[in-house]
């Protein structure tokens, strides 16, 4: 396997979606190629960091606007 083939299979590898044969082939390549190991590792960390980042609390004014708009529209809709 070449580095460019590894890149094409990277998502499948990270998602655990490769066939066992292809996974073995890719891991053999990784055992010999430091550059690809770093790409795999940092790509996995990229996904983990985004997945684990909590959504920030809404700014209070944004939240207040959302709730008052919804309350007004929902009550209006309920009466209609």
């Amino acid at each position: 396997m070449k580095c460019t083939n590894m890149i094409e299979e990277l998502s499948g590898y990270l998602d655990g979606a490769l066939s066992p044969e292809l996974r073995v082939e890719l891991e053999e390549h990784l055992s010999k190629c430091k550059r690809c190991r770093i790409v795999v590792d940092t790509c996995k960390k990229t996904i983990d960091i985004y997945c684990n980042a909590e959504a920030v609390p809404l700014p209070e004014d944004t939240r207040s606007r959302l709730h008052s708009a919804l309350r007004e529209k929902l009550q209006h809709q309920r009466r209609a």
Binding site: T4, S31, T42, K45, I49, A53, L66, Q75, Q77, R78
Partner: protein, 220 residues
């Protein structure tokens, strides 16, 4: 599988979908009860659902539109539409997944209004690009922990906002909202191979953009 020999970089062996995707935290047990009550006209039950998901829907709006004002509109319109269409919610999926689909449609409409000639989800994506091997540097074991929460959020927002919309939407749905490839394809009216291709490129481009913050040499 055995770990690669002489591996100076710690790549977790045999990563699985579960290792990449943490399970969604948060109570979903009573979600159905809240939805049922809201469908019966209980506004406070619907407000509980809003309280539960407002942050995530706002983040989705921010990540797709890249604009705070638009994200606020997307959030408001998504919740309002969800309430209006609650009778049509059949419970075949989680309420949150259904809400995400509504919010994505609202966000796409915003994007298209703002940049009618620049947002095309189905254009061909160039392949065979070897630029993904630029900026290949080790990040160390816990790169995100080197930053305070606020700073980390700024970094993540900045990196994702630099992506082309067609990449960041797919990344948002697949990796952040944890939708399947098929669900993502369905929501965005793309083919499964197109979703896979965009996801790969989104992941690689984000990795590259984050490299300037997380590489070891930056803090060593």
């Amino acid at each position: 599988m055995s770990a690669p020999k002489a591996n100076p970089v710690n790549v977790s062996p045999a990563p699985s979908a579960a290792s990449v995707r943490p399970t969604i935290a948060g109570p979903i047990d009573d979600e159905l009860q809240l939805v049922t009550a809201a469908r019966a006209g209980d506004i406070s039950a619907f407000e509980s659902l809003v309280n539960r998901y407002e942050r995530k829907i706002f983040r989705l709006g921010m990540n797709i539109t890249g604009n705070r004002e638009d994200a606020e509109d997307v959030m408001q319109e998504a919740f309002l539409k969800a309430y209006q269409h609650l009778p049509e919610f059949e419970g075949n999926s989680r309420f949150y997944t259904w809400l995400v689909r509504i919010a994505v449609n609202q966000a796409l409409m915003k994007l298209r209004k703002r940049r009618p000639n620049q947002v095309s989800l189905d254009e061909e994506i160039e392949t065979g690009d070897d630029s993904f091997f630029r900026d290949v540097e080790d990040w160390g074991p816990s790169p995100a922990e080197r930053f305070e929460q606020t700073q980390l959020h700024e970094i993540l927002n900045s990196a994702i906002s630099e992506l082309d919309p067609s990449f960041r939407i797919v990344f948002q749905l697949r990796d952040i909202e944890e939708m399947s490839t098929e669900e993502t394809a369905d929501v965005l009216h793309l083919s499964v191979p197109a979703v896979k291709s965009r996801l790969l490129r989104a992941r690689l481009k984000l990795r590259q953009k984050l490299n300037r913050y997380f590489r070891r040499s930056e803090t060593a």
